[in-house]
Amino acid sequence: MLAVRDLTVGYGDRTVLHDVSFTVRDGESVALLGPNGSGKTTLLRAICGGLRPWRGTIRLREQAVESLRPRERARLAAVVPQRAECPSGLSVRQMALLGRYPYLSWLGGYKGGDYAAADAALAAVGAGELAMRKVGELSGGELQRVLLARALAQRTPLLLLDELAAGLDVAREIALFDLLERRRADGICLVMAMHDCNLAALYATRIMGLKNGRLLFDGPVAEVFTEKNLGELYDIPLCVFPHPQGGVPQALPAHRAGESVDLNIYFRQNTPI
């Protein structure tokens, strides 16, 4: 589905990604982990054609991304952006309908099938009752769901999700990732930039660690979700343990003891903090 080879790209004269290579097959769900500024969003941008590679290639279904026309590209890959600017007057339904733009004919408007796809997508993310609300009146989490609905309405074989979980409560988060998991089982391919490594371990089939624009590790959850890998990725000690149900690896920060040692030093020296 997606093949990235030796990708080097950046902004201005600042290189953000260095020689990144990987391939993603249909039905795979890849979590992209990494600290802030490690290049996760840049990678997603490049995959959807928003940034032209300085070096290397990106291929969607065996076709180079920059050789695809924008409409063809939008029928292959849909994006849920992280910080989306939205015109506030648009209704939620109109917003979801814009996901059908790549399917419009040269002259035609949105037809019954497009409305049905948009409504189905809204219902799938649990935003059916928001349909007539204005986008500007939504909470962050609601907007996030509407943006996902728009991407689902695009009916693409590849979904690029940038921080989908941001601003969602736990119940919504789980509901949306369950939904995505079902879509993945149907053969869709997911690439998700995430901060919550535990959610990644629960829902991804594969994890990639991105640090300073380079791939640190890449592999199935069980193989790469280790204290060594994650510790190196985030530069803090983490302890990894199996989830009480199912045994999927989970991680928690392991530096509490270290902090208290530091505090003791302060107390001994009798200096106010």
Partner: protein, 344 residues
């Protein structure tokens, strides 16, 4: 489209249709309503029977032509306003943002100031004074549009919105200086230039129609086909590209279409301000931000606005004296717009 939006559009279209015959009622020649309607019907070939020749000429040619031109120009300017505001994602943009008005003013003032040999050459080519001014204004407007689009396109071939706005400002400033220069060097034409710039439909007849349609129709086509692109563009360049829009190309065609449309309107009627900004804003409040209904509504709304502003411009002072219609739209539009802004 929901029923409320559809109803508003139907009302606007009906008002637009009614405005044309009703606006023909006013004029310096005293005629009763039945006389006017009868003459109109006769002009359109709807009734047989003899109609007084002068009446047919006054109503069927002078008045009807002027009202139709006002309806088309108003509609064109409002439509171009919607397109410009959408493409540039700036509520303050108007049809003149690209410097089209300055180009038209420059062309018109050069033609007005034309004397001596050059004028005789133009006349020998079959141009009347008014026709020469209009043709020259159109040429200036299209040239300014071309310059703004060319300057706004970067080395990478993409039309960036900030760059287009800046290019428009540069073009406007330069051409505005030429107008000022003409005024300074050729004092006897100052009054005509000023009057032309304020915008008026005085004395415009059916002979202006071909020129207007030649620019209005391609523009209408480009902008009319672009309504879906305008909706997607309102999300910003990045999301628009992710949704499958070729942003640079869409922006070019929308700007070129809107500019072309504006050029025709300005060449025929002078620089009529406020129609292109007031009508889109009022309609956006009524119809919401979807560009399909908005563009349709703007065509009718702008037409209605300019038809009645033109009626006021020729009746307010009385005695055959006329106000420039641009002054009327600004005098009415200014306070109305201010109230609207305050109430929101």
């Amino acid at each position: 489209m929901d029923t409320r939006v559809f109803r508003i559009l139907a009302v606007l279209a009906a008002c637009w249709l009614c405005s044309v015959p009703l606006a023909c009622l006013s004029g310096p020649m005293p005629l009763s309503a039945p006389e006017v309607f009868h003459a109109l019907a006769a002009r359109l070939g709807l009734v047989d029977g003899p109609v007084e020749a002068t009446r047919l000429l006054v109503v069927g040619d002078i008045r009807l032509a002027r009202v139709c031109l006002a309806a088309l120009c108003g509609g064109g300017l409002a439509l171009a306003g919607v397109a410009l505001q959408g493409v540039l994602r700036n509520p303050l943009a108007d049809p003149f943002t690209l410097g089209v008005s300055a180009g038209a003013a420059c062309g018109a003032s050069l033609a007005i100031a034309l004397t001596g040999g050059a004028l005789r050459v133009a006349q020998s080519l079959g141009f009347s004074q008014a026709g020469l001014v209009a043709a020259s204004a159109l040429a200036g407007a299209l040239l300014a549009l071309f310059c703004a689009l060319w300057l706004g396109t970067g080395e990478d071939g993409a039309l960036k919105q900030e760059r287009v706005v800046l290019a428009g400002i540069a073009v406007s400033a330069f051409l505005g200086a030429i107008v000022a220069l003409v005024k300074a060097l050729h004092e006897e034409s100052v009054t005509s230039i000023v009057f032309w710039i304020l915008g008026s439909l005085q004395g415009r007849g059916w002979d202006s129609l071909p020129m207007l349609l030649c620019t209005l129709l391609p523009g209408l086509l480009a902008v009319g086909l672009g309504w879906r692109a305008l909706d997607v563009l309102s999300l910003g360049d990045e999301q628009a590209a992710q949704l499958g829009l070729d942003v640079g190309r869409a922006r070019f065609w929308l700007l070129a279409g809107a500019g072309c449309m504006t050029a025709g309107c300005v060449a025929v009627a002078g620089i009529i301000g406020f129609v292109g900004i007031v009508a889109p804003h009022v309609l956006r409040i009524l119809l919401g931000p979807g560009h399909g209904p908005l563009l349709t509504g703007a065509f009718f709304g702008g037409g209605i606005l300019l038809v009645w502003a033109d009626v006021l411009s020729r009746t307010l002072t009385g005695g055959g004296q006329e106000l420039p219609v641009g002054v009327v739209t600004a005098l009415l539009g200014g306070p109305f717009f201010a109230m609207l802004v305050r109430r929101r």
